[in-house]
Point group: C2
Chain length 325, copies 2
């Protein structure tokens, strides 16, 4: 019987759990509501029940699970295994999640922040497979990041490296939710893309989206990309602004960690080539002409499973390095 590894993706809304063999083949997965407002003890019990449920009426035994990886929202203290605080897990405050899960499941547990874990998943079997130097960006409500350098996740001194959404690209620009001005997230996240469209309409811009805003009181990033695909000028201007911000970010990423590949993930990549080709356009426009760059900019391939895969892979790799007990 093969050794098994469990990957847990702890989100604000749902817990996802996957069981993998040591080649990171997904054998079974499940999910359940987090019920985060009921507090860490209930959440950990839910994790335990969900994990055990995978093994009911199944050929594989929980006894063969060698290690568990859990990814959580941050900020985190990885050495201590603590969730310091997390907007999506309001009842968590200096919560020793690693120890709690270890006690509940009676297995060695490694902990990682959620974006780094998804990055590692793409690195192990996804769009960054075999790429020792890569950067991962999730485009959703906000913009999250992960950096892998020479095969290792870059954590930084305070476990808060790769906050790439908060790189400042336009000093004194738009106010970001983090309190800074001019962050890439303030322009290019799904929420900011929508916010910029609504502002442009309120400033008198003509667009097919106006009626939608009047009727429903909101516009989504998806609707903006759809309108842009239909040739709507205002929507095209907005999506160009998103791509320009991300292209500039890619230039700066290249000059920082020098990756071979930048992998974009998250809901926004459904926009497809309209997004990817324009990011590439602005990267090409802003990068130096000094030399040919080998950087590749592409989309993630694992979708929502990246987290459970990455966490299971970290459990496996950390155990094999002898750094997990």
């Amino acid at each position: 019987m093969s050794d098994l590894y469990i990957g847990i993706d702890l989100g604000g809304t749902n817990i996802k759990v996957g069981c993998f063999d040591d080649k990171m083949n997904l054998l079974k997965k499940g999910s359940s509501p987090t019920n985060a407002d009921m507090g860490p003890e209930v959440v950990v019990e839910n994790i335990g029940l969900l994990t055990e449920s995978l093994f009911k009426n199944w050929d594989y035994s929980f006894k063969n699970v060698k290690a568990v990886g859990i990814g959580t929202p941050g900020p985190v203290k990885l050495r201590e295994g603590i969730v310091v605080a997390a907007p999506n897990l309001p009842a968590f405050r200096n919560t020793p999640i690693r120890k709690m899960v270890r006690q509940r499941l009676d297995k060695p547990v490694v902990m990682e922040n959620d974006a780094n874990a998804a990055c590692y998943g793409e690195h192990v079997i996804g769009a960054g497979k075999g790429v020792g130097d890569m950067v991962f960006l999730t485009l959703g409500t906000g913009i999250g990041g992960g950096i892998i350098s020479n095969g290792q996740i870059v954590h930084g001194y305070a476990d808060d490296a790769a906050e790439l959404g908060h790189a400042i690209i336009y000093p004194d620009g738009r106010l970001c939710g983090c309190g800074q001005r001019g962050c890439v997230e303030a322009y290019a996240s799904a929420n900011s893309t929508a916010a910029r469209a609504i502002e442009a309409i309120r400033e008198g811009g003509q667009t097919s989206l106006s009626k939608l805003l009047d009727d429903t009181g909101k516009i989504t990033c998806k609707q903006i990309y759809n309108a842009a695909a239909d040739g709507d000028e205002l929507a095209l201007g907005i999506t160009e602004g998103t791509a320009r911000a991300l292209g500039l970010l890619c230039v700066n990423i290249l000059h920082f960690s020098g990756p071979r590949r930048i992998v974009f993930a998250g809901g926004m990549i459904a926009a497809g080539d309209m997004l990817l080709k324009r990011i590439q356009y602005y990267f090409d426009k802003y990068i130096w002409p000094m030399k040919e760059e080998s950087l590749e900019i592409c989309f993630a391939t694992l979708g929502e499973d990246a987290g459970i895969i990455g966490n299971a892979a970290l459990a496996c790799d950390t155990l094999k390095k002898g750094e997990l007990s």
Copy 2:
């Protein structure tokens, strides 16, 4: 007799060589002109003669040298041990410098780019001693950088990581020597600081520096900091622009690799607190208010010896890891 390590800093003008024990105590050093225009063979012979000269009439023997580290301008290919090209070494073109030095000295040789080597020197015994996550910036003619993450130099896929001077902070801003617009180097290097002052004078700005420009046809960065120290308004405006650009860079560095410390080096740090305190001011101004940051911004302590120290330390550490032969 202690094991010895040689650090070589190959610059466009001078070659510096130092001999160290395994604690990185500097035992002896020397320098000689590079004579770069005479070609790689002559340069390597100069390196050999300079290194041998250290051991003449000395208690230490060249036989006890265990390994040699050499730092060179880039771009480089470290795995191949090649200087691809270097503006300061015009006769070098795909020059297999590591192999040439190994043959000349008959010792194992490790190669690094010059900024990374100086960064490593500060990491081992300088301003970044004991700091596993640090970033190093040299403020001179240009702006060079080095990143250490978890104790390791970040090289990137193409050995061109940490080109931090070419991070774009003002999109579509000043033209940089690299061909990009808005690089931090286009504002905050010694040359760009001087260039901005000269432009401000030519646009009619009133300053005590005008006469200097009229008399000599140029202004140096040092003269600008001196004038600023004397309260010259135009000079103060220019030095504030330099500090603002570097403060913004520090914010982005924190969000990338999450270092504990950013160490500034190079000729410009002679400006002292006028530079350092204003970089800190702009960092504090632009960083998010979300949480207290533990980042420290400080000056390098090793001066021009950082390169030979870093190269010798890399020789020692690489040999001990069994990665050098």
